[in-house]
Point group: C2
Chain length 160, copies 2
DNA sequence: GTGCAAGTTGAAGTGCACTTGATGTCAAGC
DNA sequence: GCTTGACATCAAGTGCACTTCAACTTGCAC
């Protein structure tokens, strides 16, 4: 019932399933904070476990550490995040997850309906329409949501 | 109606939304093949566009080039893949996509039901149960499908 | 038949997300 | 109070997926 027992890196690493080196890396990257003992060793509050659970989940859906850092920065650093804190975060991410789920569903269904269909007009394909992606238009149905059209690591044509 | 017009790298890059350097890289990695002109320039059949569409889509759902290479290797290198070829690939991937969709849905719903719930027993959490992930048990409900529990880049304890 | 954009190769560089190694300090058990 | 394992920092290394660079060649348009 005592909420003030602090965890060492090793303890957190074990409980959260990360390497200690990763935890130190996350701290350097601004995703985690810790207090220190007199001797300089890290001590974490329990809430770091939830933070790490979120981090892991977010990574799994393909978000970069920077994106996750931005999201987590909306959590209070000092006090333990409340239900309301997490719910706010949850709402913000729901849209993204919805989009991603939609995209995957389209992809799954598209695998038979489009890629498997034998149609040769790739340009109208639901799965990947790079011409559309490259264009800056807003018109026309977007089959694959933006989340799944990963920004095509700089095609030659566009030096921006 | 002539199926034999070949495309240059630049053409393919433009149409598929990749950089030419990426196309050469993919060829080196065994994901693409090309014929050459007398002068040594690459020429691609139209079917490469579909291949690239698949590649992009697969990347978007988080698959490595190696996994994609393995999948694509089941396509005939010489003749243009048929509807049946793509459908076979499609079937093989459907399970993976289903799993990923399931996982994302669980994650989305879990964001309010678990992370947002205020419950402190992270160990029973649907979102991330690293203890379970670390354990080699088969018992108990797995909330997050394997596809979403990315293999936790080697936690300290396990040197394997 | 020539000019020049587009193509070629190989080696090296980039960014992300970490891990590994060297070297030294801390703290809990005996 | 000493040993031992966990912890500290910092620099360098790793793997993936590309991109960039330098130096040179091709091939279509005129």
């Amino acid at each position: 019932m005592n909420g003030s027992e602090l965890l060492s890196v090793g303890e957190v690493a074990r409980r959260a399933g990360f390497a200690t080196s990763a935890l130190r890396y996350y701290e350097g990257a601004g995703l985690l904070t810790s207090t220190r003992t007199a001797g300089g060793q890290r001590r974490y509050p329990r809430s770091v476990l939830r933070r790490l659970a979120f981090l892991r989940a977010a990574q799994s859906v393909g978000l970069s550490l920077e994106e996750i850092r931005a999201a987590l920065s909306s959590l209070p650093a000092e006090r333990t995040p409340t239900k309301a804190d997490w719910e706010r975060l949850s709402r913000a991410w729901r849209a993204r997850l919805d989009e991603q789920i939609l995209g995957l569903t389209a992809l799954r269904d598209g695998l038979s309906s489009c890629i498997g269909c034998g149609c040769l007009s790739l340009r109208r394909c639901a799965l990947s329409n790079p011409d559309d992606a490259a264009r800056f238009d807003g018109a026309g149905a977007r089959y694959l949501p933006a989340a799944l059209r990963r920004p095509a690591p700089r095609p030659d044509g566009m030096p921006a």
